[in-house]
């Protein structure tokens, strides 16, 4: 069914593919970490309650401290998070895209935001189904 979105922040930044919350949630699931596991790893710097709020877009701008902790735990770039959090408004620059994991990203597929979200959900479903070790 076409469930568009049940909770939309409606924050008119530009055209973000994923919201900060969606992005963070998707990565946490990819890393197979629970909210409390992240809280743990952050040394209590990020509470599970707060992380939940962030992922559900109930927090507009988590502080760089928080973002930094998450970036380290997930091993992703802080700059990207800052950008998604709306801190730095960068001028449009070309993307170089030098991926390390050389698996073909979906970058060439020109995903619409909706498609991206849907794919993400499907990935989650997929992995849940398969009962990884």
């Amino acid at each position: 069914m076409a469930t568009a979105d049940d909770k939309d922040v409606g924050e008119p930044t530009t055209e973000p593919n994923l919201t900060l919350g969606q992005y963070l949630a998707s990565i946490r699931k990819d890393r197979r970490l629970s909210l409390r596991a992240v809280e743990e790893r952050s040394g209590k710097q990020v509470s599970n309650a707060y992380l939940s709020q962030i992922e559900n877009n109930q927090i507009q701008q988590p502080s760089p401290n928080i973002l930094n902790a998450l970036a380290e735990i997930y091993e992703i770039s802080l700059e990207g998070l800052m950008e998604k959090a709306g801190f730095i408004q960068k001028s449009g620059l070309r993307e170089q895209n030098e991926r390390h994991g050389r698996i073909a990203t979906f970058a060439e597929h020109n995903l619409t935001p909706e498609e991206e979200v849907e794919l993400m959900q499907y990935l989650e479903f997929m992995r849940h189904r398969k009962r990884p070790r």
Copy 2:
């Protein structure tokens, strides 16, 4: 003394032992701007009242938004301010690395080849199903 010789006031890397507030105040005075002038130039993004508090160290961590505004007005580096404000400048990637994360960064999701194939198929299915125009 009329004019303290105009040395090179243009933002060294890191002045030794100035607090964020002292540092900001010294630079503002160097630029000969009043609190309200800064407020003005920032487009009201930074109120004179708030700037005063910052300069008197009554604010512990002004948000990056504020710091960014000030950095632009004073023409100093944002990173330096962030550092002085106590935001961690982790030993990460060097600066100057341009942004990536344009489209759905599935690159961060550690897809196995099988997962990638399956996702790809699902994407195709998705688009086949909807196919807008």
